[in-house]
Point group: C2
Chain length 432, copies 2
Amino acid sequence: MNAWDQSVKSAVQSKRPAGPPPAAPHDLDGEPSYPAGTRSVEGRLLARLLEYLGNPPLEFVLWTGERIAPAGTAVVARVRVSSRATLLGILADPQVRFPDAYSEGRLEIEGDLVQLLETVYHSGRRSPQPSPVRRLVERLHRPHVNTLTGSRENIHHHYDIGNDFYSLWLGETMAYTCAYYPTATSTLDEAQYAKMDHVCRKLRLRAGETVVEAGCGWGALGLHMARHYGVKVRAFNISHEQVAYARSRAESLGMSSQVEYVEDDYRNISGRYDAFVSVGMLEHVGVANYPALGEVIARSIGPQGRGLIHSIGRNRPAPLQPWIEKRIFPGAYPPSLAEMMQIFEPYDFSVLDVENLRLHYAQTLRDWLALFETACGRVREMFDEKFVRMWRMYLAGSIAGFTTGALQLFQVVFAPRDNNDVPMTREHLYPR
Amino acid sequence: MNAWDQSVKSAVQSKRPAGPPPAAPHDLDGEPSYPAGTRSVEGRLLARLLEYLGNPPLEFVLWTGERIAPAGTAVVARVRVSSRATLLGILADPQVRFPDAYSEGRLEIEGDLVQLLETVYHSGRRSPQPSPVRRLVERLHRPHVNTLTGSRENIHHHYDIGNDFYSLWLGETMAYTCAYYPTATSTLDEAQYAKMDHVCRKLRLRAGETVVEAGCGWGALGLHMARHYGVKVRAFNISHEQVAYARSRAESLGMSSQVEYVEDDYRNISGRYDAFVSVGMLEHVGVANYPALGEVIARSIGPQGRGLIHSIGRNRPAPLQPWIEKRIFPGAYPPSLAEMMQIFEPYDFSVLDVENLRLHYAQTLRDWLALFETACGRVREMFDEKFVRMWRMYLAGSIAGFTTGALQLFQVVFAPRDNNDVPMTREHLYPR
């Protein structure tokens, strides 16, 4: 550990338990937090931006060697900006240009990337009540449309870039969704299996029942349900690569008669099942399609079934971080709980249980990032350095999203209104 | 058990496990389900109403002796209508006039009142998607306004009719909210204490902490928290009778320094607390006041607290049953989950846990109704026969509301977005 690492580490340790940073001083006419000295124009602009963001504990080093850092505050990371053009881009559109510049190597970060991004998430917070203008902008913002064709393109963009790549860092289950850590020492793989059991228990699966799964990734949950709960599963997914992988996995385990993987859109689900489950698909559905999803569920499970939806969410409606939407997940939108109700309300579903697992997603992402860093030489060979840096930024930013509460993870259990065959307590979820 | 009871009972037993009744045949031009025979005009109108409601398995006996019952169906209850005026009233406005006629003795019910009302709730169901007109009506419907003064009047109407009356049938805790039955054999009192423990565990109360309670009823929860979890409680309530009772109870237990009961509106809560709790008050707040409630909570618990709201709710927005709103709970409105989010979204609260306890409320109400029936001679002396019948109708109708899913009971745990000191799992709620 070098001196810089040491100083970052001690700054981090002394700051960590103190909770969120103090409220941002938005009064730009007050005493400047960034002493001007002999400051360039670019340096002055950057200092202004940082003051506006509430003086995040970051040091910027410009291409000229000029340093901009808040006075009297230990910093958690240092950002080296390689050119004037890069800085002006960041000043113009920090949310997209900052991660782009990092991906393209026009910006270097020394210190903890996750910490830096947590700092930025905290600093970017505004007053508790979003302004009417911001609300309007958020309402008008519509991510890439998820028509049947649009969905295929959006999903292909992210999930079909190679099973080999994902197998480097997702662990043995290839589950690409929030895991569930029963204890602080659970490993990633243990936590992924624990998540599957948690979901199966919430659905109270009984041997001989049938389950339809909407958006099945590489197929681990369907296999787990069939092998350990004796149910028959039909799992839908529009990612060609994932379905191929899932089918060959089921075949090699001799489970093909128990788990059928269908390469098709959730809107084309047909048949009647005892339970509906969807883990990590809702983020790609789009609020406009929620009533259609509700209709699919209602016709799939009838008046006596039950269902579970597991999805990234928000505390209140807001667009996805624009860089993530642009570079990583086109068409994605994590809903607020109220927005999710547009699935359930029109069909009179009763919401039985909502659990928020956001800190489990932070831990899952930490485990993924650690595996990714171990494998990044291999990833560089498969793609290039830019891809490695982009993916690192995405994983680190997602950790920061969940630890700062910008993102939530909701598991929602529901049943049709008429179904009184629901458990009285949730004790069965916690067997000992 | 007489022959009628016997026939109702066997009809019930043969029907019970079959799930909800079949969908209502809305085609009024089809084969009539009620054979006309020599039917009076009133009888024909009633038959039409019952066909429209999907032929509920009920027999009506008119003042003339004329009987109207669905062909070929065992009935679960018999309704005797005493006069033409009574019947016309019911035909004109069944939701209000039917229970009014029962309260006033102009209508007798033989058989199981709860079963009858469950039948009516099921029959009254419409298509899954409410019509735009109904949605508009529901949006426009506003119950009695809950201004500071209006709230006092509305609460006085229900809660200040006498502690002696409520003590006859609420059990020893005087808790007038949904209990929590850990096992099928739990008694009412056990279940009320279990509910308090469930709430305290969800809030993870630690000795020495402070709690503010909005709407404390007769004060049992505050006392329980202070005695068993070592916290200091400030509990707000605008019911004069309830506050007087709660204070004297705290005094007799020597707990006055630990639990302070304040006769004031939740909007006047001041001070900073570790936790906010409200059990059974939200029904009286009104959706328009939810952001104000959110503001009260935000300023009460700051960035590191947590809270719990326990409230009757709905699967989707709908006005309260109009007779209940008119005669029992003026100003009351049970929200949908999406509506509840209007408390949390503006202040960026993270919803951590939602549990639906509707079947527990059905059981609670069954226990209350049984105690009420035992004490109804005493209630008749305190009030009159009309009051006894009105209250019976209210308790039985509420059971039917919860068993048919017309009503839900949501317990919602939340914390400010910045609070990462939240439990990773809910296992601590289920100690063994």
